[in-house]
């Protein structure tokens, strides 16, 4: 992002000109806002190692007298965070794998086949972009009940197996593949599946990775739908698990414990983000929709 060559002005000797003053002011504003933005997370991190027997107060707000990991151990004892992790990972990757298959197939059909009703079918699928799933929890909840899937991992995943955004993205991407390559592959006796796999998928890999990252982050963070269709430890994802944990009566306002639970949920995510910052940001840029 910062690779644009620009004239390097930083080496000039500093002088008090209107410009240098406004630049310095800008930097101060930037630094103050950045600190303000970072503080909630830093505070949560600090309090998560605050000794549970020292009450938080205006005078004792951060690490306490001796930082400790007791809160983490206790959080793991009270709530099955490991199970929640497993559930979230199954949900997120279950959705992703099915999506990658369905969007590749449908995207291929819309990119390279002529068939009756093509436009109306494409339009029907695209309607999914315009009717947000969160507004459909009432009927979808009934559907899940009727399918006897309530409180299962499949119930959390099922509504997202077809993706209009992914189909649209794959159609656009596959269209950029030269038709000659397709024809050549068919001439060599490749069937449609081989053509799709060897000709279309490889150049679409960046688009698929961008789609994957945005799908993962959307479903990793999703809360309302899993809240509605799950009711037990075996199917709850992390987000719902954390909400249940913080609202347990026995926990009350024990903030060191609550923040430890929160860090257990977001820690790995933050770590991954630190490592793959650039890829994360680029994938967010490429998929403003979901």
């Amino acid at each position: 992002m910062n690779k644009n060559p620009k004239p390097d002005r930083s080496r000039r000797p500093f002088r008090f000109t209107p410009k240098s003053i406004s630049n310095a002011l800008g930097l101060i504003v930037l630094a103050v806002i950045a600190v303000g933005w970072a503080i909630p997370m830093l505070w949560a991190l600090a309090v998560s190692v605050h000794p549970p027997d020292e009450p938080l107060s205006a005078a004792n707000l951060w690490f306490g007298s001796h930082p400790t990991l007791t809160n983490y151990a206790q959080a793991f004892q009270i709530a099955p965070f490991a199970q929640y992790y497993v559930n979230t990972i199954i949900i997120v990757f279950g959705i992703l794998v099915v999506q990658l298959v369905t969007i590749s197939l449908a995207g291929y059909a819309f990119a390279r086949f002529q068939f009756r009703g093509q436009n109306i079918l494409f339009f029907l699928i695209l309607l999914q972009l315009m009717v947000p799933s969160s507004a459909l929890i009432v009927p979808n909840y009934s559907t899940i009940r009727q399918l006897h899937l309530f409180d299962t991992l499949l119930a959390v995943m099922l509504p997202f197996f077809g993706s209009a955004f992914g189909t649209f993205l794959m159609r656009q991407t596959f269209r950029t593949v030269p038709r000659d390559l397709d024809d050549a592959a068919r001439m060599d006796g490749a069937n449609w599946l081989q053509t799709l796999w060897y000709v279309y998928i490889p150049p679409a890999r960046p688009a698929m990775i961008a789609f994957a990252l945005s799908s993962i982050s959307f479903h990793w963070n999703d809360f309302l739908w899993p809240l509605v269709v799950t009711n037990s430890t075996s199917s709850r994802p992390l987000t719902v698990g954390l909400a249940v944990f913080t609202q347990l009566g026995e926990i009350g306002a024990q903030w060191p414990l609550v923040t430890a639970g929160t860090i257990i949920v977001v820690g790995p995510l933050l770590l991954l983000f630190l490592i793959f910052q650039r890829q994360f940001i680029e994938s967010f840029l490429h998929s403003g929709l979901k």
Binding site: M1, N2, D8, S10, G26, L27, L30, A34, W37, A38, V47, A58, L61, T102, I103, L105, A106, Y108, A109, F115, Q118, L127, Q128, L129, M130, P132, A135, I137, V138, P139, P159, F161, G162, A164, L181, A184, A185, D188, G189, A190, N191, W192, L193, Q194, W220, N221, F223, L224, V228, T239, L242, A243, V258, G261, T262, L269, F273, Q277, F284, G288
Partner: protein, 305 residues
């Protein structure tokens, strides 16, 4: 392109050859099936259900026409919900989009520790809203919550942010801005990086001041980004629910209840299926306006690329 001449797929090939005309339909069938079952039919069904009374008092659905809608629009609680939603949208969207633009402009220069700044502004985006809301629940704690510690530093009296009907919505708005500004910022940063440098150099040679070139070059050239980001922001703001569930439960006195939360509450707390369906239809109608705009814009942008 290397193709393996003999793959184990030859048998499936013959099977698929039979219905060559059916192939594209088979390819889109899975997507169409899931979209139909979980988007198209539900959208029709929710409208249909909204025309029936069905709640704890009326177990068997009973046709009422637009009775559920009429009841909603006469209900002071629902008025409050609409007002809260509108205030939230009109506060969160412009403030976070404007701040995102300011931050992007400040970051779009040679800076020491640029990565650190970007990290500070962007990390809230990747947090699940539930976790962000939990952290902010802590920030707003009466007494020693950092928000109160901060305002007491300026000799303002400590407040019960989430317990005060006049402050609770503001507290949610602050969280909303904190959570999404970094996300919008990266769109502006990308937009700024894509601006043609020679135009700015020409303007600067012609004696344009920094403010002039911002006013006449930067802002107009970023108008597309602003439209795109604003649409996303509006849709997100209308779908606000996670933080309400975690932080206030819609209270105090419905001061923070918004459309989607009210929908959830109507269905699962008040067990009123008919009314919940009517709220869904209203929510869909409002969002449709914005998602259609968003889609048309991306479609147009896509065809330029």
């Amino acid at each position: 392109m290397r193709l393996r001449p003999r793959t184990p797929d030859t048998r499936t090939e013959r099977r698929f050859r039979i219905g060559a005309a059916a192939l594209p339909y088979l390819l889109i069938a899975p997507t169409l099936l899931f979209v139909a079952v979980f988007t198209l039919f539900p959208a029709i069904r929710v409208f249909y259900d909204s025309l029936f009374l069905q709640n704890q008092a009326v177990q068997e659905p009973q046709f009422t026409g637009f009775g559920n809608y009429a009841a909603l629009f006469q209900d002071p609680t629902f008025h409050q919900v609409i007002i809260n939603t509108v205030i939230y949208v009109f506060a969160t969207v412009p403030l976070s989009v404007f701040l995102a633009l300011v931050l992007a402009l400040l970051l779009n220069q040679k800076l020491r520790a640029l990565g650190l700044y970007r990290l500070a502004f962007f990390y809230p985006t990747i947090l699940p809203m539930v976790s962000a809301a939990t952290i902010w629940l802590f920030m707003y704690t009466p007494g020693y919550g950092l928000v109160n510690v901060f305002i007491e530093f300026f000799h303002i009296q400590s407040q019960n942010w989430l317990g005060d009907p006049n402050l609770a919505l503001i507290a949610l708005i602050i969280l909303g801005i904190w959570k999404q500004t970094g996300y919008f910022m990266i769109f502006y940063l990308a937009g700024l990086q894509g601006l043609p440098h020679d135009i700015f150099e020409a303007a600067s040679l012609d004696g344009a001041s920094a403010i002039q070139s911002a006013r006449y070059l930067t802002f107009p050239l970023l108008a597309g980004t602003t439209l795109f980001v604003t649409t996303i922001a509006v849709v997100n703001a209308f779908e606000t629910v996670d933080q309400i569930y975690i932080m206030t439960g819609g209270g105090p006195n419905n001061a923070t209840s918004m459309l989607l939360f009210n929908l959830w509450q109507t269905l699962f707390s008040f067990l009123d299926n008919g009314k919940a369906s009517a709220i869904s239809v209203i929510l869909i109608a409002v969002l449709l306006i914005f998602t259609v705009t968003n889609f048309l814009y991306t479609e147009r942008r896509g065809s330029y690329e």
